[in-house]
C-alpha cells in the first residue's frame, strides 16, 4: 500500500498545487466579489435570453444546438464528479436524467398545467427543477447505497443495470406514455435556465475540487484503501458524490423535458449514458474544463458531420478506441483550464512579439 501511495503522491501533489487556495483566504471582500460576479453573469444571461430566443435574429437551429450544449455540459460535468473526481466508474447516468425528466414532466403536465404569463412560467420551471433534482437525488441515493460497495467493473455493470431498470420501469408506467412516449409537456425551458444551470454546475464542481470534500474524493480515486486508512469515510463520500451527480443529471433531464416537450424512454437507454461518458473521457476524466470541452465537441461533432450521419456513431466508437490506445487520459488529463493560464499564454506571446 505504502508503495502505491508514494507512486501516486507526486501526481496528487502537483494537482493540489495547481488548485490555488484563493477561496479559503480572503474575507468579506472576496465574498462580495463572488456575489457581484454571480449577479453580473445572471444579468448577462438574462439579457442574452430574449436576443437568442428571437427567431428573426438567431436561427432556431443554432438556438437548439446552444441549448443542447448547455444541457450536455451539465450532464458531463456532473458525471465527472463521480467518474473523474471520485474515480467510481458509473455508466447509468441516462437513468437519472430520465428520473428528473419524467417526474418533473408528470408534475407540470398533470398538476401544474400550462402557466399563463412570464413570471408564472419562471416559477413553474424552478419548481420542476427542484422537484426533478430531489427525485434524481433520491434515486441516486437508492442506487448508490447498494452499488457503491462494489468496485471497478462490477460497479460499472451494476449502474448500467440500474439505468436499464429505471428505463424499463418508465416503459411500464402508462401515465407517462409508456413506450409511446410522453408528449404535451409545457415548454418552459429558456436559454437563461439552461446556461445558468450549466455555469452553476461548473462553479459547484470547481469549488468542490478545491474543498476538503473534493480532496477526500480524489484520495478515494487514487487509493481507496489508503484513503480509508487516513480516516476518510469512503462509503459516505462516494454516496454523497453519487447523489449530487445524479441530482444534477436529473436537473439536466428536467431542462431537456421542458425544452423538447416530448420524452421517449428509448432516448434514455445506455447509448445515451455512453454518450455522456464519451464526453467525459474525451475531455479527460477528472477535469471539469475537460468535461465542458468534451460536451461541446460531442454535441457539435454530429452537426458538423451531418453529411456523414450514417457513419457518425461508427466514428464515435473508433474515436473512443483510438483515444484509449493513444491518449487514455483524454484531451485535458487531470489538468484544468484557468484564466491565469490563458492570461499568461497571451502575455508570453506578447513578450515574444516584442522581442
Amino acid at each position: 500500500m505504502s508503495l502505491c501511495v508514494l507512486k501516486n503522491m507526486p501526481q496528487l501533489a502537483t494537482e493540489t498545487a495547481n488548485l490555488k487556495p484563493s477561496r479559503s483566504s480572503g474575507g468579506t471582500r472576496t465574498f462580495l466579489k463572488t456575489v457581484l460576479l454571480i449577479v453580473a453573469i445572471a444579468l448577462a444571461l438574462a439579457c442574452l435570453d430574449p436576443l437568442l430566443s428571437n427567431r428573426e435574429l438567431f436561427s432556431p437551429y443554432a438556438f437548439r444546438i446552444l441549448m443542447l450544449i448547455g444541457i450536455n455540459i451539465t450532464l458531463a460535468v456532473s458525471l465527472n464528479l463521480v467518474n473523474g473526481l471520485a474515480g467510481q466508474f458509473s455508466i447509468g447516468h441516462a437513468g437519472f436524467m430520465a428520473v428528473g425528466a419524467y417526474t418533473s414532466a408528470a408534475l407540470t403536465y398533470y398538476v401544474m398545467g400550462y402557466p399563463h404569463g412570464g413570471i408564472l412560467s419562471t416559477l413553474w420551471i424552478l419548481a420542476a427543477m427542484i422537484v426533478g433534482g430531489v427525485a434524481g437525488g433520491i434515486a441516486g441515493f437508492l442506487v448508490g447505497i447498494p452499488s457503491l460497495r462494489l468496485r471497478g467493473d462490477y460497479l460499472a455493470i451494476v449502474t448500467l443495470g440500474f439505468g436499464e431498470i429505471i428505463r424499463i420501469i418508465i416503459l411500464n408506467v402508462d401515465a407517462v406514455g409508456g413506450p409511446r412516449g410522453f408528449s404535451g409537456i409545457p415548454y418552459l425551458t429558456s436559454f437563461f435556465w439552461v446556461w445558468s444551470t450549466a455555469l452553476g454546475t461548473i462553479a459547484l464542481s470547481r469549488n468542490l475540487v478545491t474543498s476538503t470534500h473534493g480532496r477526500a474524493l480524489m484520495a478515494i480515486r487514487e487509493d481507496e484503501v489508503a484513503a480509508q486508512a487516513f480516516g476518510i469515510n469512503t462509503v459516505r463520500y462516494k454516496v454523497a458524490a453519487f447523489v449530487l451527480s445524479s441530482s444534477l443529471a436529473a436537473v439536466a433531464g428536467v431542462l431537456y423535458a421542458h425544452y423538447d416537450t416530448y420524452l421517449n424512454p428509448s432516448s434514455f437507454g445506455f447509448i445515451r449514458s455512453f454518450e455522456v461518458i464519451i464526453m467525459v473521457i474525451l475531455g479527460g476524466m477528472g477535469s471539469t474544463s475537460g468535461a465542458v470541452a468534451g460536451a461541446v465537441i460531442v454535441t457539435l461533432l454530429p452537426e458538423l458531420l451531418r453529411a456523414a450521419a450514417a457513419v457518425r456513431m461508427l466514428l464515435y466508437s473508433a474515436l473512443l478506441i483510438a483515444l484509449m490506445l493513444l491518449r487514455p487520459q483524454g484531451i485535458m488529463g487531470h489538468r484544468e483550464l484557468s484564466w491565469k493560464q490563458i492570461q499568461s499564454l497571451f502575455l508570453r506571446q506578447r513578450r515574444r512579439a516584442k522581442a
Binding site: L314, L320, M324, P328
Partner: protein
C-alpha cells in the same frame, strides 16, 4: 402446471444460449480480468456470417454437409474476429489501468454495433430455416420440436467438450494457469499471448454457435441483437461466479428460467429487467457468484 413446465422448457433453450455466450465472457475474464463488452456483438456477427453462408450455399444449405459448413464458417469467422479484436484493441491496453481496458471494450462494442448497422443494414432479416424437420413430439404434456432438441443437444455437447478441453488437455491446463496467475504462468514457459489469443478465438467461436442457434430459434437477426443477450450473458457469468466455467453454465440456465418465470407470472414487460435485478441481488448477497471462490484483496 403443464403451461409452467412448457415455459420452463422454453427457458432451458434461452438458458443454453446465455450459457454459451457467458462462457466467452467468463474465459476472457479469467485470463485477462476484462469484461469483453464486445462479446455480445461477436455473437451478432456469427449470426450474420451464417446468414450469408446459407445464402451463398443456396438449397444445399439444409443438407448435413451444408449445416456443418454454415456452423464451421461462422465459427471460424468469429474466431478470426475475436483474434483481431484482441490484437488490435485489447493487447495494447493490457497493462493499462483496468478502466482504460473497460472503456476500450465499450468502444469496440459500439464499433461492431454501428459497423453492423452500416454493413448489414439496420432492419431485421429473416433467418433461413436450415433445420427444417419440425416434428413436434409430446413429452409429459410438453410439446417439443426437433429444433429445440437440436439446440439443447448442441449446447450440452459443446459444454462437455469445453470441460474436457479445459481439464484434460495441455492448452486447457495453460489456460487455467494463466487465469490463476499470468506472470507466474509466463515464467513457467507458457506463451501467455498465445493462450489469451486462443481463449478469445474459442469464446468467439462459441458465441457464433449461440448466434446461429438464436437465428434458427427466433427466425430473425438484426445488428443490435447482441446488445441485450450480451449483457444478460455477462450477468449469467457473474451469477454463476465469473471465471468459473461450470458457473457460467449454471448462471445461464438460472437466468433463462428466471426470465420465463417472470413471463409466466404475467409480468412479460419486465422480462428484461429481471436479469439486472438478479445481478444487483447476487452482487449484494454473494459477490463471488454461486460457484465462484472469493478473493482476498491484498494491499
Amino acid at each position: 402446471m403443464q403451461e409452467l413446465t412448457q415455459q420452463l422448457f422454453n427457458g432451458l433453450i434461452w438458458g443454453g444460449v446465455y450459457a454459451l455466450i457467458a462462457l466467452g465472457y467468463t474465459m476472457v475474464y479469467g485470463v485477462l480480468r476484462l469484461i469483453n463488452f464486445a462479446h455480445g456483438d461477436v455473437y451478432m456477427v456469427g449470426a450474420y456470417l451464417a446468414f450469408f453462408t446459407i445464402a451463398a450455399l443456396g438449397s444445399s444449405a439444409s443438407s448435413i454437409a451444408g449445416v456443418a459448413t454454415v456452423f464451421l464458417t461462422a465459427m471460424a469467422g468469429c474466431a478470426v474476429l475475436g483474434l483481431t479484436i484482441e490484437r488490435v484493441a485489447y493487447r495494447p491496453v493490457r497493462n493499462a489501468p483496468r478502466l482504460t481496458a473497460l472503456i476500450t471494450a465499450i468502444g469496440v462494442s459500439l464499433f461492431l454495433e454501428n459497423g453492423g448497422q452500416l454493413l448489414f443494414g439496420p432492419n431485421p432479416r429473416a433467418f433461413p430455416q436450415i433445420l427444417t424437420a419440425r416434428h413436434v413430439l409430446s413429452l409429459a404434456g410438453v410439446s417439443v420440436s426437433s429444433l429445440q432438441i437440436a439446440i439443447i443437444a448442441t449446447v450440452v455437447i459443446l459444454l462437455l467438450l469445453l470441460e474436457l478441453l479445459v481439464h484434460k488437455t495441455k492448452v486447457g491446463m495453460a489456460m487455467r494457469a494463466v487465469s490463476y496467475n499470468r506472470s507466474v504462468a509466463s515464467l513457467m514457459g507458457i506463451n501467455t499471448d498465445h493462450i489469451i489469443a486462443f481463449t478469445f478465438a474459442l469464446g468467439s467461436a462459441l458465441a457464433a454457435v449461440a448466434g446461429i442457434l438464436v437465428g434458427l430459434y427466433t427466425g430473425t437477426i438484426e445488428p443490435l441483437m447482441g446488445l441485450l443477450p450480451g449483457l444478460k450473458a455477462f450477468i449469467a457469468a457473474v451469477l454463476g461466479g465469473i471465471g468459473s466455467i461450470p458457473g457460467a453454465m449454471l448462471g445461464g440456465f438460472v437466468l433463462g428460467m428466471a426470465e420465463v418465470l417472470v413471463v409466466a407470472v404475467g409480468y412479460s414487460t419486465y422480462r428484461d429487467a429481471i436479469a439486472f435485478a438478479l445481478l444487483v441481488l447476487i452482487l449484494l448477497l454473494r459477490p463471488t457468484g454461486l460457484l465462484g471462490t472469493g478473493t482476498v484483496e491484498k494491499v
